[in-house]
Structure formats: C-alpha cells, structure tokens
C-alpha cells in the first residue's frame, strides 16, 4: 500500500514538473482559472438579482455553498482525473498501454495518477474562499462536526467522481476512438452546479442514484451547512464506496476484454 502511494506521488511529481516547463501556459492557465470563476458566479449573481431570496428551497448562502463544492470537485477533476484519463486514452490509441500491463503493478493504480495539472490547486483555494464567503453571508460559522462531515463527504464525492472516470476509461477500451470522453465527464458534472432540488422529480432521482452527481456537491454542501440527515450522509458514503467497487469490476472486465480480443 505504501508502495502504491509512493508511486503515485512520484508520478504526480514528474507530471507536475513537466507541466511547469511551459511558463507561458502557466500564466494562461492562471488567467483562465480567474475567468472561469467569474463565469461560474455570474448565473448566481443574476439569479438573485431580482430580489428573490431562494431557489427550490435553497437560499443564497446555501446555493453558493453548492457552487463552492462544484468548483472544488471540478478542480480535482480537471487537475488530477481528466489529465490521467487523456493520457490513458492516448496510450490505448497508440498501443503504449501494453507497457502498462507489463508492469508488476496494478494497471488501475498506475494509470490513475499518471498526469496532473498543478494549477488547479488555485481553484481549490477559490472553492474554500467561496465557502468561507457563504458562511459570512449566512452570518454564522459552521459547527466543527459539520466541517468534519463536509470534508468526509467531499472525499466521498471525489471517490464517486473517480469511479465515473474509471467507467469512462473502461469504455475507452471497447470503443477505440473516444478522446472526447473527458468532455463528456465534464459535461455530466455540469449538472452538479446547482442543488439537485432544481431538477424535476425523475431527474432528481437519476442524478442522485444513477449518475450520482448530487452526491458530489449537493449533499456535501448540506453537510457543511448542518442540514444533512445522518442517514443520508451514511448512504452517500456507502454509495460512493459501492461505486468504487462497481467501477473496479468494470475496469477488470475491460482489461480482460483488451487482452483477449484485441491486437
């Protein structure tokens, strides 16, 4: 286990070093991060500009909190998960994935941390700042146990996101030319910008249980605000773990298929 962590750390360090070699890109990425942030906040600003105080039962601070989680999880998606997925799909396409299978390390572990975009850390900081501002709007800070639960559910959300990534990666084996899968993942995640309550009944169900993006932003936001029931919290964590298991099984299936039926 330690070995895997050390390996992950090494891969990320190498990737970060590679990323920082292009200095001009670095600045562009920074400007982009700022622009993206303002763009994400714009609908929120407009939304509450006509004087209303809530949307689907969610007030200003709580919708902002959902957005904070959205930005945070998205930063991890764009910073860690997507780049590795792009790398994996490229390796599958070029055939270099064979080398991954030749290593005495679990292939999933190796490809999950192969690349990163270090600049996304800035977005995580933005997210935290936004959460703090949301509390300022509300007028009272969070209880310690809420913070703890908020962090735990953030981790659960990340696990769920990672599992969706893994499922996409597995799909990349069966259908060869799928470089745009990363865009799909990002597009699905767009759903998580707003509290899941804004969606009509059927979709609320879909986005909570089938494509559980609500798990990633709505529930953690509620946890941090102290409005999440303990059963829901446990169910969320359980669901995320179940998703990890399912995606692992699908990944194994994909590898089996790759080694039995392809060239």
């Amino acid at each position: 286990m330690i070995r895997y962590l050390r390996l992950a750390g090494l891969q990320l360090r190498i990737s970060a070093a590679a990323g920082m070699t292009y200095r001009a890109d670095f600045l562009v990425e920074g400007a982009l991060a700022l622009l993206l942030l303002s763009l994400m906040l714009l609908p929120w600003i407009v939304l509450f500009s006509d004087g209303r105080t809530e949307v689907a039962g969610w007030d200003r601070p709580s919708t902002l909190m959902v957005m904070a989680y959205f930005i945070g999880v998205r930063a991890v998606l764009e910073g860690l998960i997507s780049p590795s997925l792009v790398d994996l799909l490229e390796r599958i396409r070029s055939g270099a994935f064979d080398y991954v299978l030749l290593k005495p390390i679990d292939a999933q572990a190796l490809v999950s941390t192969s690349r990163c975009e270090p600049w996304q850390v800035v977005n995580v900081l933005f997210a935290i700042g936004l959460a703090v501002y949301a509390f300022a709007l509300r007028g009272r800070g969070p209880a310690p146990e809420d913070v703890a639960l908020g962090v735990v559910l953030f981790a659960a959300g990340l696990l769920a996101m990672y599992s969706l990534w893994l499922l996409c990666a597995a799909a990349g084996f069966w259908v060869v030319r799928l470089d745009n899968l990363t865009y799909l993942l990002g597009a699905i995640f767009d759903v998580a910008r707003w509290p899941v309550a804004v969606f009509p009944g059927l979709w609320r169900f879909v986005f909570t249980f089938i494509i559980p993006v609500a798990v990633m932003t709505t529930f953690p936001a509620q946890a941090l605000l102290g409005t999440l029931g303990i059963e829901t919290a446990l169910a969320t964590i359980g669901g995320a773990l179940a998703l990890v298991v399912v995606s692992r099984l699908v990944w194994r299936l994909a590898i089996r298929s790759y080694t039995s039926a392809s060239s």
């Binding site: 562009v28 763009l39 609908p43 209303r52 597009a187 759903v191 707003w194 804004v198």
Partner: protein, 265 residues
C-alpha cells in the same frame, strides 16, 4: 476550383460514412451539450412560482431548448480536430492533397449535421412544441429565416473554430485557448444566459462580437418577436460576420501552414 466542387459530393458521402463508423464518438459530442439543459432545469425551477424578470417558465423552456437545438446543429469540434492533426503530424498528409483542408474538414463536419439533427431534433423538437410552444415566434418572416440563419451561424462557427484550431501551428497548448474561447462564447452568445438577463455592458459588447451571430440570432428568431428592422439588422450582421470569419480562417490557415512547412512539419 471545379475539381473541388466536383469532389464535394464524394467528400460528403465519405463524411457520412465516417460519422457512422465513429458513431460512439459522435454521440458523445452530442451528449456533451448538457449546459442548456442544466440551465433549463435551474431557471424553470426559479420561474415556477413567479416569472423571473420578463421570462416565464415556458419562456425559459423555449429559450434553452432552442439553444440546445441550435448548438447541436451548428457546433463542431473542428478546432480540436485540427489541433490534434497538427500535433500528431497527420496534417502533413492533408496538406499534400490537392484539396484545401478547409473544404475537407467542412465536408466531414457538414456531413454530420443530418445525423445530429436526427438524434436531437425529434426529442428537443417535441419537447419544445409541447412545453414551450407559447413562447415560440409566429412571425412568418422570422420562421422563414431560421434555416438560412442556422446555415450562416454554422459557417461562422466553423470558420472561427477552424482558425482557432489553426493556432496549433503557432502555439503548443492550443487547448487552453480553446477553453478561453468557449467561456467567452458561452457568455456573449446567449448560451449561458439570455442576453437581456445579463448586465448591460455584456449585451453592448455582444453586438460587436461574433458570438451572438453564432447562436443568439437563430435562437432569437425562434423565440422572440423582433421588429422587421431589427431582423434585417441581425441577418446582415450574420452575413457580415460570415464573410469576416471566412477571411480570418483562411488567412490564419495560410500563415500557419507557411510556418508549419518552415519548421519541417
């Protein structure tokens, strides 16, 4: 020139075959247009009890479904495709052919439009007519102009994205610029929010930027009653931007190719 024209039917046919062959990839491109639906959900929820500014729930439904349709019919991934071809070196092969790559790419992307319509129009169209019918325009002039407007919007979008992709000849991480472009697009075209819900300076800026003419105009023709003078201005705006973007695309391309050949491909 005539050779190019004669090649077009074949190019289109091959484009269709390509779309069919890579159907999974092409389906994914359709599925990535989720933002209008997300915004639709949000705004209909917001406007469910009382209208938001001048928009009722139905207005939002009509608006965002129109955005979805227009986006699907006019959006292309050519920028991404061109930058990949440059990066991987497969551009060299295209440059050797006696057919301008612009035409080749255009043909294959145009060929995908029927398929996209087939997938998107039934669902979105039905939803549009059932939930948002009252907000759709009834002006015969506007209705008649929808298809030409879509065609022009497609041309502007394609040309500008083509030019963006060609920037890959000059810079390594063209992807970052593509992201920047998309953010600007979503703001000024009406993709993210209807123009009149945004602060005034955005609407004023949008008048001189191409983005509104890539998406906003067809959408507005579908969902809003404009004065005839306004309609004429919008169409002229589209024509102007179509010409400009075409010129820009070909110019950037030529500069890029020259550089590409100088560096050794």
């Amino acid at each position: 020139m005539t050779r190019t024209l004669r090649a077009i039917p074949t190019l289109l046919r091959v484009g269709v075959a390509e779309t069919v062959a890579y159907r999974a990839e092409f389906l994914i491109w359709i599925l990535t247009t989720t933002l209008p639906l997300v915004m639709l959900a949000l705004w209909t929820s917001v406007a469910s009890e009382r209208a938001f500014r001048s928009y009722s729930s139905e207005d939002f439904v009509a608006y965002y479904l129109a955005v979805l349709i227009v986006r699907n019919l006019t959006g292309t991934w050519v920028a991404w495709q061109v930058s990949e071809d440059v990066r991987m070196g497969s551009m060299s092969m295209r440059l050797l052919r006696p057919l301008h790559p612009f035409v080749a790419y255009a043909a294959s992307h145009l060929a995908a439009v029927p398929f996209r319509s087939l997938v998107v129009l039934p669902i979105a169209g039905v939803l549009l007519l059932s939930s948002g019918a009252s907000s759709l325009t009834r002006e015969p002039v506007q209705l008649a102009l929808i298809v030409p407007s879509l065609a022009l919007a497609w041309l502007i979008t394609f040309s500008l994205l083509f030019a963006l992709g060609a920037l890959a000849f000059f810079i390594t991480k063209a992807m970052a610029l593509l992201n920047l472009y998309f953010m600007t697009f979503s703001l000024f075209s009406g993709y993210l929010l209807p123009q009149d819900l945004l602060p005034g300076w955005i609407a004023r800026a949008a008048a001189v930027l191409p983005f509104r003419y890539m998406l906003g105009v067809p959408v507005e023709l579908m969902t809003r009653a404009h004065a005839p003078g306004e309609v004429r201005n919008l169409m002229l705006g589209q024509l102007a931007w179509a010409a400009v973007s075409l010129v820009v695309a070909l110019r950037v391309w030529r500069l890029g190719v020259r550089r590409y050949e100088a560096v050794g491909g």
